[in-house]
């Protein structure tokens, strides 16, 4: 290390050292001359004698400099200076190479930074590596199972099973007892009723995201408050005083600071809570997909659920077949994941077997799976990992393409520098030394591209975030450049530099010195000598064409998918509809007044000038999905039937045609006979060819004996409209009047059909609702079109990104092809000149050049097509309305690419045909 720094210091003093060495040697000569003079020589002769004895002065200086120990650095300096000079001399080449590489590196860095933030990052808690998440896995979700009811998300596993991270509360207590494995076990429950909490602070009402946690949650995660205290075991008891903890961001937004928040009294869903503390700024809970604003003790679920017909009940704590609570634990030091699995799985197995009541249930018991918990819950990973891997593959291909492109351009340039290399080799330069110098050039090129690429990546990340967020303000996915990502980008640049530089560097130093030197300056090297080089260049061009084809096919598939999705028949008119949600129950409205409140609100909203129709439903059509026991009178309920509670004029507002009968009207209120409108699918499934009008439907309240809830007369049949998503089959749906009994109205989504831009009406809407009841916040404001776009967000992102990628590839491939063909034409100037002198027509020359290009293209396209057919099935799950070998996408890609190839090849071919034979031959 010491020696290294000494060398560095010397390097800085280099010119002084040089001068000193000259002076030192001059002194030596003078002394020697004096000596000779003293021996009797004349002054002039004495000088010459001294000079003679010294020998080769330059060599002596070289040898001395070598002992200074900076030869390597010195050479690097030379190489760099030379590289900069070469790059400056070839501006077009340099800018093409740097731009294409930078685009490749930038795209990779951007995607990688998303992968880093989604797939690789750990929770910002103490010692995240010792955390585990408990899951179960069951072979099938069909048939009877011990899992009679669930609240939470289940995931289908690739090998056709089902997995989830929710457990009955007694199972959680079982894990808590197992203190040989865990130092602490804690639970949390992101209840659906907590997803949108009405939080009222000093009369200001807003919607906040809530999450309930067990008393050991914060202690288990090792999170310390920034202000106040966090939830402890004493807070999580039935009858404990109601307390809440808020996130740092929420405290900033609503209180202007963490310290101000502590001790405040707030209303949550119209119930009083005391705010006891604030979590640290970096903490976002355990699910990166949904950071909560408010943390409540788990026992608040009963409190908040009491007023809701589907709310949480205290019995759930005892239920052994109700799966709802998420369990996490911290392993004791030294306990491995496998040991935890081995210790806990049999205990859970034994417990869960005790909850089964028949053989079928016993045959399909859930098995415990202990998973790493350092990254928290894997909801975000499950959603984005596959799309990100696909994107990473695509940008990886782009980078490979850019590398091939630059390698080819370098190869072309290396060929042009054959004489230079031959000259240097013949003057005694070592081959290694030349390879090192050429590599310095390519690595420098790559590093400059990497620097530019990081700039592109910053834009790319912003653009991708915008694309993925799709207008959502609370978008949680924040990718950023950190040292990991920058390190990866730098490593990538270095790797690409070596990768695309090595082959041309080795290639250009394999020069046979004599023939190369004998070549005329502009003449063509005889083909015999260059078989290998040309074929390497050809391989690169072919692989570029193949890669381009792959990317074009991907773009074609995703664009066609988007087109298919956008042309999906909705059954309603998406344009000019404003949607927003209100929840009067959470603001304190009770039955039966709540229905009147909603009806009055609808009247007020319809009166806004420019609002043509107004209606309401419990969910928007796209998000609908309610199944309750519903069937024909005198028949058992059909589980396929779906319902949607709607308000008057719903079909008129959404512009869903009524095929027979009528819309739900204002007269269909609380006191009047219950009515329903069914869709075509319902009519077909339940009535066949019979006329459904006037028939009766029976809705039952699930539970012991399924109590009769509503007996409704069918008053209308409507056209099929999308229900619960864009691509799912439209189920049989019965539309019920929201005010006519069970299920009683909770939140409502209002739909306003407006003239002109729906977003212009937001302020009027907020004003009217504020006037009606200031305690009721307006949330989820969006247009119907935006809501639909949101559901196909991933497809839109993929189509836009891949189109961008495809254009990028086409440009890069065209540039590469143009460069290669141009060079080959230039190299063959003499040959073409002779052909033309011998009478070849211009058209023949163009044909000749293009034929070679098309020959390469044919091979490249064949390879690309085979690769596309082989790999496109991996993206099948991203496609809609077509197969992965969609002929239109494949043929379209081939046609576009062929066009680009001809374009890239025609310009140089035309130039070749313009060669003046006389000039070409004289040149020789």
């Amino acid at each position: 290390m010491n020696a290294f720094f000494r060398r560095l210091r010397w390097l800085a003093q280099r010119s002084r050292k040089e001068a000193e060495l000259r002076e030192e040697l001059q002194f030596h000569l003078d002394e020697e001359a004096e000596l000779h003079q003293a021996e009797g020589l004349a002054e002039e002769q004495a000088r010459w004698a001294a000079r003679r004895e010294l020998g080769n002065l330059t060599l002596l200086q070289e040898d001395t400099r070598a002992t200074w120990g900076w030869t390597i650095l010195e050479q690097l300096r030379q190489d760099l200076r030379y590289a900069f000079r070469t790059m400056a001399a070839n501006r077009l080449f340099t800018s093409l190479a740097i731009t294409s590489l930078a685009l490749g590196i930038g795209a990779n860095t951007a995607i990688y930074s998303f992968m880093d933030s989604i797939l690789l990052r750990s929770l910002p808690v103490s010692d995240p590596e010792s955390l585990v998440v408990l899951n179960w896995y069951a072979k099938t979700r069909e048939g009877d199972s011990v899992m009679k009811a669930m609240s939470g998300t289940t995931y289908d596993e690739p090998n056709s099973g089902v997995t989830a991270g929710i457990f009955p509360f007694p199972a959680f207590e079982l894990f808590q007892k197992n203190d040989s494995v865990f130092s602490i076990v804690f639970a949390h429950y992101p209840s659906w009723q907590m997803r949108r909490l009405n939080v009222s602070i000093k009369g200001q009402v807003d919607v906040a995201a809530g999450w309930t946690v067990s008393g050991d949650y914060f202690r288990g995660l090792g999170v310390a408050p920034v202000a106040g205290r966090l939830i402890i075991s004493d807070d999580d008891r039935a009858g404990a005083s109601a307390v809440a903890v808020v996130s740092y961001g929420f405290s900033q937004k609503r209180f202007g600071g963490a310290a101000n928040a502590v001790g405040q009294s707030i209303l949550i869903d119209n119930l009083p809570f005391t705010l006891i503390g604030v979590t640290p700024p970096e903490f976002f809970g355990v699910d990166p997909a949904s950071p909560p604003d408010v943390y409540l003790p788990m026992h608040t679920n009963e409190l908040l659920g009491a007023s809701n017909q589907f709310g949480f009940r205290a019995e759930n704590y005892l239920a052994r077949n109700y799966y709802w609570v998420h369990v996490m634990g911290r392993l004791r030091p030294g306990v491995t994941l496998a040991q935890a699995q081995a210790a806990l799985a049999p205990a859970f197995q034994q417990w869960v077997a005790g909850t089964a009541t028949n053989d079928q249930e016993r045959a399909n018991l859930p098995q415990l799976v202990v998973k790493k918990g350092a990254g928290g819950l894997d909801s975000l990973r499950r959603r984005y990992s596959k799309p990100l891997y696909v994107l990473l593959t695509l940008v990886g291909l782009i980078l490979a393409l850019a590398c091939a492109n630059v390698a080819n351009l370098l190869l072309v340039r290396a060929a042009a520098r054959r004489r230079e290399m031959a000259l240097r080799l013949s003057l005694g330069a070592g081959r290694l030394r030349i390879v090192r110098q050429l590599l310095t050039e390519s690595v420098l090129l790559a590093l400059l591209s990497g620097a530019l690429g990081v700039l592109f990546a910053i834009w790319g990340i912003r653009f991708l975030t915008l694309l993925l967020a799709n207008g959502r303000a609370n978008f949680t996915l924040h990718a950023e450049l950190n040292w990991d990502v920058l390190g990866a980008a730098a490593a990538l640049s270095l790797l690409t530099g070596v990768l695309f530089g090595l082959a041309p560097a080795l290639e250009s130093t394999r020069v046979e010195v004599m023939p190369a030197l004998k070549e005329s300056r502009a003449g063509q090297p005889a083909a015999r000598h260059t078989v290998w080089r040309i074929s390497l260049s050809q391989i690169l061009v072919m692989s570029q064409i193949a890669i381009s084809l792959l990317l074009l096919v991907a773009a074609g598939l995703f664009v066609r998918t988007l087109a298919n999705l956008e042309s999906v028949e909705l059954g309603f008119n998406r344009e000019n509809v404003l949607l927003f949600q209100v929840d009067a129950r959470k603001a304190g409205h009770k039955d039966p007044e709540i229905a009147a409140f909603y009806a009055d609100l609808r009247k007020r909203l319809s009166a806004i000038p420019g609002v043509r129709d107004a209606s309401l439903s419990e969910d928007s059509l796209i998000e609908a999905g309610t199944g309750l026991p519903l069937g024909l009178a005198g028949a058992p309920p059909n589980p396929a039937n779906r319902i949607l509670n709607i308000g008057p004029a719903f079909f008129r507002t959404m512009q869903i045609p009524i095929l027979a009968g009528r819309d739900i009207e204002e007269r269909d209120g609380p006191g009047s006979p219950a009515v329903a409108v069914i869709n075509e699918a319902f009519a077909k499934a339940n009535f066949g060819n019979r006329n459904p009008l006037g028939q009766h439907l029976i809705l039952r309240e699930p539970g012991e004996g399924d109590r009769l809830a509503r007996d409704m007369e069918i008053v209308g049949v409507c056209r099929n409209a999308r229900y619960g998503g864009l691509t799912r089959d439209i189920p049989p749906v019965a539309y019920l009047a929201y005010s006519q009994g069970y299920p009683r109205p909770d939140q409502m989504v209002y739909a306003l059909r407006t003239s002109g831009d729906p977003l212009l009406y937001i302020n009027s809407v907020r004003e009217i609702i504020h006037q009606a009841d200031a305690r009721v916040p307006v949330s989820e404001v969006r247009t119907q079109a935006a809501e639909i776009d949101h559901t196909i967000n991933q497809e839109i992102t993929f189509a836009e990104l891949c189109s961008g990628f495809a254009i990028l590839t086409l440009v890069i491939a065209c540039v590469g092809l143009y460069g290669t063909v141009s060079y080959n034409v230039a190299r063959r100037t003499g040959e073409i000149g002779i052909r033309m002198a011998l009478g070849a027509q211009r058209g023949r020359i163009v044909q000749m050049v293009l034929r070679e290009v098309l020959g390469l293209a044919a091979v490249g396209l064949t390879i690309g097509m085979a690769a596309a057919l082989g790999t496109s099935k991996f993206v099948e799950s991203f496609l809609y309305g077509m197969k992965s070998n969609d002929p239109l996408a494949l043929l379209g890609a081939v046609a576009i690419l062929l066009g680009a190839i001809i374009l890239g090849g025609y310009a140089p071919a035309r130039k070749a045909s313009r060669i003046d034979p006389m000039a070409a031959l004289r040149h020789e």
Binding site: L21, F27, L35, L54
Partner: protein, 118 residues
């Protein structure tokens, strides 16, 4: 007696460093004086080539065994004077003992004990 003694002896590899260090033990000196001293002291048997002296001096300096400074020479010209560093002194001691061991070993082989004696 054969008067045709070789006028010059080739330096053994690595001995130049030792000679330089030993010369500098007497005090600071410049390159030309070092060469002269070695030549004179070895009775003109050892001729130090200028081409290897200066690289050797700079190499020893890079190793930190000797250090250089600019001083006025006897004739009043600026010259680069080298002097031993403490590290160089230590090095010299170990080189010297190594050399003695080496020359004793070679001596033992060239003049076997049984032919010695009075």
């Amino acid at each position: 007696m054969d008067r045709e003694l070789p006028s010059r002896v080739e330096l053994l590899q690595g001995t130049l460093d030792l000679l330089i260090l030993r010369t500098l033990l007497a005090g600071p000196s410049h390159g030309h004086a070092i060469a002269k001293h070695i030549r004179r002291t070895s009775e003109d048997l050892l001729q130090v080539e200028t081409g290897s002296l200066y690289p050797a001096l700079h190499r020893l300096e890079a190793k930190g065994w000797i250090a250089a400074s600019w001083k006025l020479s006897d004739r009043g010209k600026r010259a680069r004077y080298y002097h031993l560093t403490p590290l160089g002194r230590k090095q010299l001691a170990s080189e010297q003992s190594k050399w003695r061991a080496f020359s004793r070993a070679v001596g033992l082989i060239l003049n076997p004990v049984d032919q010695e004696g009075p």
